[in-house]
């Protein structure tokens, strides 16, 4: 110990400084990486409130203009059907995410817990559905849906999304169910619960993080989807937000302030849902129940 006390000061200070420098470097990198992610959103918002005369100024100004205007937001709701599109998208996305989780969970539970012939094959098939580019399937589905009279309906659109998202949800959720020790369910069965009771009392509460992230994933996919919406939905009344946003770019002029304002509004619901669910997105709920 005496030796340590006698060491010249710089020998103690240098490591401390280098440690601090290391932390600073990590923090700086984190800030830099985050800013890359956040900047487009910032730019979107700043552009939406910039007077239209300043939008194409060169060099562009990073800070918001002193003459910021919020009129594009009002214009959007007064002159376009944005409110209706938001409603349509919310309905379609929420329904799609809900049913994808519901049916995906059922499939995932069966794949995770039961041994049956064709189990391996069905897992491969689930993955194979993701192999084809959407445009390849869009045309046959268009024909199919038009025969069934499901074109131009939000219900039909949701159905089309479900066809894609249930397999994804099943694969995602299977991984979550696999992570829940089967002994927990066995203990519950012996303790006196039925299989369904066990599913609702033990398995589902423990897979909340998985369900939340799967729900969020499906919601965002359906919220952002454009190709199928474009093909299946014709009437502006039934447009989703992605169609509505695309409709702004005109043949001769595109009102960029309105486009950016609309984009900002469209981003908000997803952000809200993300914030609401992020509590569940943190894993670690299952730790401690069984000793591994």
């Amino acid at each position: 110990m005496t030796e340590v006390r006698n060491t010249p000061i710089f020998e103690n200070v240098v490591p401390r400084i280098s440690r601090a420098a290391g932390k600073l470097a990590i923090a700086a990198t984190a800030v830099f990486l985050c800013s890359i992610g956040v900047f487009p959103f910032y730019w979107m918002f700043v552009t939406s409130i910039r007077p239209s005369t300043e939008i194409f100024e060169f060099p562009p100004r990073v800070l918001p203009s002193a003459d910021s205007v919020f009129s594009p937001y009002l214009t959007l709701f007064e002159e376009t059907d944005l409110a209706q599109w938001l409603l349509n998208s919310t309905g379609v996305s929420a329904a799609t995410a809900f049913f994808a989780c519901l049916f995906g969970a059922m499939a995932a539970y069966a794949l995770s817990r039961f041994r049956f012939s064709g189990r391996e094959t069905s897992q491969v098939v689930l993955l194979m559905t993701q192999m084809f580019p959407a445009i390849l399937l869009a045309l046959p589905m268009f024909v199919f849906f038009s025969r069934l009279g499901l074109l131009n309906s939000l219900f039909g659109l949701s159905l089309a999304y479900l066809a894609f998202l249930i397999p994804v949800a099943a694969v995602l959720l299977k991984a979550f169910f696999d992570a829940i020790p089967v002994e927990l369910e066995e203990a519950s069965l012996i303790d006196g619960a039925s299989r369904i009771g066990t599913l609702f009392r033990i398995t589902l509460p423990l897979s909340l993080p998985g369900l939340a992230s799967t729900f969020l994933f499906c919601f965002i996919i359906s919220w952002d989807e454009f190709l199928f919406a474009r093909m299946f939905i014709r009437q502006p009344d039934n447009w989703t937000v992605s169609l509505g946003l695309a409709s702004f770019s005109g043949e001769f002029v595109t009102p960029w302030d309105q486009v950016m304002a609309a984009a900002t509004i469209i981003t908000l619901p997803v952000a809200v849902i993300f914030l609401a669910l992020q509590r569940y997105l943190v894993r670690g709920l299952t730790s401690g129940g069984v000793k591994g």
Binding site: D191, G192, S287
Partner: protein, 381 residues
């Protein structure tokens, strides 16, 4: 409380026979231990009793009810899992009361029962904690509590101690045994640890390759193993075994093999002749007699290791191609040096014989008048 009975119970997986026609009768209030190496089918047997595995063939009875097709929840059994299987999203109170809540027991009654069990298992201050906030020993006690709170007909325990550290394991071992005696609940306990089996079980069933090899009280299992597998599996260190043949050419009948000659007890000669030439002789380490000179009861060997464990000493002796272990009091072992040449003998009545091919014990009339168990206590060196 109840009895349980397994009749020709078989479990077959595709391409694999896990449990092979086992018969087992568990008495009311008994603590039966299923012991065997990993993969011997002991856990599968327990899981079939619990209803977690389907029985391929045979019948399982709990009390006088055939339960083959009864779901786990209706069998009235409780199980403690190796990894405890506590519900991680529920606190200790909710974990303990889970089965009662499912049975719609009134709220006040649940509270009384939980408090009773918590007091018994020293869990009262922990009722509001989640499993993740508990130590290994505490989790183990919650798992036990969850089983006893239901007052089931049958306790099933699947290696409940294997995740505890050595000290806690010995302590909990005693706790479980005491609890079982007090509650008097028929218990089936699975372990791969023979010392756990010997200390806890009122009866022990040794399993290997899906078969029950022997069911006996611990002392019987140790003294009179039914076959060479049990002889080697039970006891630390295990029984000394040597492949020998009967040599009747001399004045005294001897067992020879691996360069060693051991006098054969007269009462066993007839039975051994019936077996033929291939058999194995075995004796427990504490039945070895070590002395400075060959008194005619054994053979000479060289000491290759002396392990002093404090309360006893293990001396490994090499003779011919074989090695034997003797258990001695430490004081006596102090005088034995590595490399020393010593006489190694066995009290003839302590020898056990096993069929060379099947491993089954060869029965012969035992001379019970030769009582002394620890011969080394008086042997001269």
């Amino acid at each position: 409380m109840a009895t349980a009975r397994l009749e020709n119970v078989t479990k077959r997986y595709p391409g694999h026979l896990a449990v092979d026609r086992i018969n087992l009768s568990i008495e009311d209030g008994e603590f039966l231990v299923l012991v065997g190496p990993s993969g011997c089918g002991k856990s599968t047997t327990l899981r079939m009793i619990a209803g977690l595995e389907h029985v391929t063939e045979g019948n399982i009875w709990v009390g006088d009810r055939r339960v083959n097709d009864v779901s786990p929840r209706d069998r009235d059994v409780a199980m403690v899992f190796q990894n405890y299987a506590l519900y991680p999203h529920m606190n200790v109170f909710m974990n303990l009361s889970y089965s009662l809540r499912l049975r719609r027991v009134p709220r006040e009654r649940i509270e009384t029962l939980v408090n009773q069990v918590a007091a018994t298992l020293d869990l009262s201050p922990l009722l509001n904690r989640k499993p993740v906030q508990l130590s290994g020993g505490q989790r183990q006690r919650v798992a036990l509590g969850r089983a006893i709170i239901r007052e089931p007909k049958l306790f099933l325990m699947d290696e409940p101690l294997s995740n505890l550290d050595a000290k806690l394991r010995v302590q909990t071992r005693t706790e479980i045994t005491r609890l079982q005696r007090r509650l008097g609940v028929t218990t089936v306990y699975v372990t791969h640890d023979q010392s756990e089996a010997m200390t806890m079980g009122s009866r022990i069933a040794v399993m290997n390759d899906g078969k029950i090899l022997q069911i006996a009280v611990p002392r019987d299992l140790y003294r009179n193993p039914a076959n060479s597998f049990v002889a080697e599996f039970v006891g630390t260190p295990p029984m000394n075994l040597l492949s020998v043949r009967l040599d009747r050419s001399g004045s005294v009948d001897r067992l020879t093999g691996g360069g060693v000659r051991i006098p054969c007890p007269e009462s066993a000669v007839e039975a051994l002749e019936a077996v033929g030439q291939g058999f194995r002789v075995g004796f427990r380490p504490e039945d070895a007699v070590i002395s400075g000179s060959n008194t005619g009861a054994g053979f000479f060997g060289q000491v290759v290791a002396v392990e002093d464990l404090g309360h006893e000493a293990l001396v490994t002796v090499s003779a011919g191609n074989a090695q034997f272990i003797a258990r001695l009091p430490p004081a006596r072992a102090e005088q034995i040096r590595h490399g020393q040449r010593i006489a190694f003998g066995v009290e003839p009545s302590k020898l056990r014989f096993f069929d060379g091919r099947k491993g089954a014990a060869v029965a012969f009339p035992l001379d019970e008048s030769l009582e002394p168990v620890r011969r080394h206590g008086s042997c001269p060196l």
